[in-house]
Symmetry: C2
Subunit: 409 residues, 2 copies
């Protein structure tokens, strides 16, 4: 079976038009108008191929190729169609569209697998509009209660994910609705590496060994507003002053722990945010990752300790959000991927995923693994994100071979 590399590339480029904000740039946040357009496009492609499309109460999208024995647990292949606000063309979209390409190829070749193969697009992987992300796969795998996911508020605090989901699904009222969750036979996800290792080593296929652990926090600093010209600095409760000291110490400490720590403050909101008003409040996000679970826990405790130790006139409140331990993928599936790459004539190597993926959640239900293709300069979450048509096709081809073998197992 050979997938159609030109068809896969053209679907990737067509989908990148939906949410395009500059050359290469995609802003297609979860449950947005742009993601409605993306779903419409993908559903059209799937229905043209005669595939079965459905959704579930959490806004996950499913595209099934029916197997001979429909009672067998299905093979699940997935990723996500949402992007960061300044994202690129490949992150997430590649995994969904490569899965679709595998199904279209099997339809074209009149291959009917033993078990269903279902391609899924998980709701809100990125978590930029509604934090934290991976909402659809967390609810699907029972990692997080659906009500908890639905109650998540957007940044402005005005709308819930639940409200946005009702609005989103109102555009797909004719789509069959399946219950939330089922037990897959196995899970596969193709993704760009989002790191420089494959490119640096000149390797076609990354066999992903696991995903590094991740913790996220929200920190609120409460100070007091006042006139920038009148209140003496010694009498102020200046939340930006407190933020600068706290953030500088956090960065200093995290950098000193070890080279594999990833510590990011990506979102900062200042209140009331006016040049001549002493800021009364700062809210910011912490994203902390490490492949080693003990070191990750240590970093998490250090973060909590440093926030708790802050002195001065402001009040600090830290709320833990995500706490995902590092995980390892199925050895057997890793071996299958390595073997398929070899038979296709591609080089491969084991790589650790430093980014989080929905696979993290689904492997709680079944064996799972991921396939990486190179990312130019390791860049992602940016318009410069790039993987060539040949590299994309190599990943999809390996995915197709492994998927077909598993579906026959």
């Amino acid at each position: 079976m050979i997938i159609s590399a030109p068809r896969l590339w053209s679907t990737l480029m067509d989908l990148a038009e939906l949410g395009k904000f500059c050359e290469g740039g995609v802003n297609r946040q979860a449950l947005s108008e742009e993601e409605i357009q993306a779903w419409r496009q993908i559903i059209t492609w799937a229905e043209e191929a005669g595939l079965e499309v459905s959704t579930d109460p959490m806004g996950n999208l499913f595209i099934a190729l029916p197997g001979v024995q429909r009672g067998l647990p299905p093979l699940l292949i997935g990723s996500h169609t949402d992007s960061q606000p300044t994202g690129g063309r490949f992150d997430g979209a590649l995994g969904v569209l490569a899965g679709l390409e595998v199904l279209r190829t099997m339809v074209d070749d009149n291959i009917r697998p033993e078990r269903d193969i279902i391609v899924v697009s998980w709701m809100n992987e990125e978590g930029s509009r509604f934090a934290p992300g991976m909402s659809g796969s967390e609810a699907f795998a029972g990692v997080r209660a659906p009500d908890d996911v639905l109650a998540c508020r957007d940044r402005s605090g005005t709308g819930t994910l639940g409200d946005a989901l009702v609005y989103f699904l109102s555009h797909f009222q004719n789509l069959p609705r399946r219950p939330l969750g089922f037990s897959p036979f196995a899970y596969l996800e193709l993704h760009i590496e989002q790191g420089p290792e494959l490119e640096r080593c000149g390797i076609d296929i990354g066999v992903v060994t696991g995903i590094q652990g991740k913790k996220t926090f929200r920190v609120v600093i409460e100070g007091e507003a006042g006139h920038a010209g009148t209140v003496p600095m010694g009498s102020r409760r200046d939340s930006v002053h407190a933020f600068a000291d706290l953030a500088a110490e956090l960065f200093r400490t995290m950098k000193s722990i070890d080279d594999s720590v990833r510590f990011t403050i990506g979102q900062v909101t200042v209140t009331p945010d006016a040049p001549s008003v002493i800021p009364s409040g700062v809210q910011f996000s912490i994203d902390l990752r490490h492949p080693d679970s003990e070191i990750l826990d240590h970093c998490g405790r250090e973060t909590e300790r440093i926030v708790a130790d802050q002195r001065g006139p402001c009040r600090f409140v830290l709320t833990p959000l995500v706490d995902a331990a590092p995980n390892r993928f199925s050895e057997e599936l890793q071996n299958r991927i390595m073997d398929a790459a070899r038979r296709c004539g591609f080089s491969s190597m084991p790589v650790l995923s430093t980014a989080g993926h929905d696979a993290r959640n689904i492997v709680k239900l079944c064996p799972g693994a991921m396939i990486f293709v190179p990312s130019r300069h390791g860049v992602s979450h940016a318009p410069e994100e790039w993987t060539s048509a040949e590299q994309v096709a190599a990943g999809a081809e390996v995915l197709a071979m492994v998927a077909r073998e598993i579906a026959e197992a």
Copy 2:
């Protein structure tokens, strides 16, 4: 002449309804829908009293009581009707409405001054929507070129002050338009103290000796976006990391210079502002004040030096915006205010204004002075801003007495 304390208080409370966002809180930013409502209300009051209302090309509002000799340079009394996004009921509004009350009282008492008395509300004093502020008085006094003021962009970068002004003035097409600028005989401004001195000393009237100097800057930090999980910290160009280090050093240095330094970072914008994206950019405001011009200059040079000295992977660009030296008000007018307070039976003391005011600009055209009334706990730019009806009336009464004397001079 006794002004009507209940009438003045009720106009203050009525105006505070326009832009009210919580008990005591006013959000009536420059050229906003809320300021359109405020102008409509003030114009109605002025026209009911038979006063002459006009505007100029910069969106300053003028309310004139004609004098006997209309060719004489007029006495100007003013302040502003715009507020901070989380402002209170008194800052700015008091000065305009007390001026209006002085005119209404003279009309009621059939007093016709020798020269015109004109009450003015200056456009965009606060500078929260369009920074820097004091736009109307700067253009009026020739401190800043009108085209420069009109080209000022709002925070999002999408709209100019000029566009907002055209829209704003389109609601007042029947209002007579006077040319920009004229030479007043003198300028008076009544304002809340925005500091704790009068309250602490139990004094009714502050005779303002001058305004401390102020410099403002915009700093842009340019980094590079990337995935929070994949890019090693040593390879990042993280703009929030750079901001934390820079801001912490600025605060440390400024606090070490002397107790009278006021250094504020009130506005911070992070790009793209998503939890799992390494931030590519930070833009922030600096507001720096000191009563001593040499120390202010030293602080300004230190700010520029510290930004220029920043090492690391990000790029730093500092743009000076406002550079206003400390200024002293007319000794003769200060004496008149002190004398009027004594004759009205109020206590008074000299105070320095640590906040900036439009008076700073108008004293370039004519002698000027300011009258302060106490601010509870020194709080301003906040819903808790408070000055009692008796304190407000005392200030307006002294203003009326001084204004009438000057208008007869």
